[in-house]
Symmetry: C2
Subunit: 197 residues, 2 copies
DNA sequence: CAGATTCTGGACCGATCAGTCCAGAATAAT
DNA sequence: ATTATTCTGGACTGATCGGTCCAGAATCTG
């Protein structure tokens, strides 16, 4: 009775996300968005609504897939110290790769939009807390199995790791080189071995 | 022989910086800039050139004054462990204050512009390295006077502290509350006590 | 005073912005 | 073939963008 949808909405969403991720929200213009998604103006608005609607959609998509890409080790069954190391290792690798200057999409939105957009703020907080909760669990497991000698508050450690990794991601935007990122990562991880408090 | 300049260029520069700082580069429009600086369109262009010229000028200004505001303890004579603590304490206080969501202007520029603007990238790198060098010196002094028991590479520790503080500043944009920021700061500083490596 | 400079305010520019709308082509199910 | 839906492309809007320019008022020095 009706024509079937021809374009892959999911794919278009991903293309749009990549553009927002790479260039930020403000500087990604609608015409660039159209080119990237290969959608006509009409189809674009029909599918996604306003530019900001789309941003929120891409943010949700990122949290539910891409973020879990680099953070994937943390979400494994019985993840412990080795998975934290893998997580941080992924961040270094990402910071050194061709598109490393993109950083983390959530952090980008936090920097650019969260201070002036309540909805983005809420989404970004959710993402941050999701990672934090996951880290608490993994660190707690590491403390139990002995791979995390530091007996301090798992929550505080999780908050620290989350923040420090965000810092590492941000630093990567200035392309400081492998040595710098590795220094940061190594010292960050050394906290897990600290038994002095 | 000629009329004297009536407006305070330095003051206007500061007002412009505050706007860029608060709202980012792209979303700070020229008309807002004019309102903030209280300059006529003509005087504005005469004094500062293009919007991007002004951005670079404000960035330079920030590095030479405001950044050294919060980081001021580090630049004191014979700064050591207590000054590092004061530095981090300043960051927490700033993150909790009314304008804490502004974060660090250098980091904001790093996030928004550095990936796509070579000049901003260069300026931001300079700023980062300046802080890094300062931290190396202070940490080294702390290692000598015993206030920093960690005997690891002062350079690596400096890079770590710089990155972690950047992370803390970024986190503050989501207004996570005092407890979170203090957790991050406390664990970060605990690294200086770590003697296990 | 005269002459030099700075300031203001607004006209003006072309470009682009995000977003709306529609006519018509394409494609489906009945 | 009919009908319903989707798609395309472009026309169009009003607003705003960053930036240029100029005429005239204001303010200084000599």
């Amino acid at each position: 009775m009706a024509r079937t949808r021809e374009f892959d909405e999911e794919l278009a969403l991903e293309k749009a996300m990549l553009l927002f991720w790479e260039r930020g929200y403000e500087s990604a213009s609608l015409s660039e968005l159209l080119k990237a998604t290969e959608l006509s103006r009409s189809s674009f608005y029909e599918a996604f609504g306003t530019k900001r609607d789309l941003l929120l959609a891409t943010l949700a998509r990122y949290v539910n897939s891409d973020m879990c890409g680099l953070a994937e080790p943390l979400f494994r069954e019985r993840a412990s110290r080795p998975e934290i190391e893998a997580f941080v290792g992924n961040m270094i690798a990402h910071g050194l790769c061709e598109h490393g200057q993109r950083g983390c999409f959530v952090n980008n939105c936090m920097a650019e939009l969260a201070p002036h957009d309540e909805e983005v703020l809420a989404a970004v907080r959710m993402a941050r807390q999701g990672l934090e909760r996951c880290l608490v669990e993994v660190i707690g497991r590491g403390q139990k199995d002995g791979s995390v000698p530091n007996r301090g508050s798992a929550l505080a450690l999780a908050r620290f790791i989350g923040s420090s990794v965000a810092g590492l991601n941000l630093m990567a935007k200035s392309r400081p080189g492998k040595a710098v990122l590795e220094d940061i990562a190594r010292v960050t991880l050394s906290v897990l071995d600290n038994t002095s408090n």
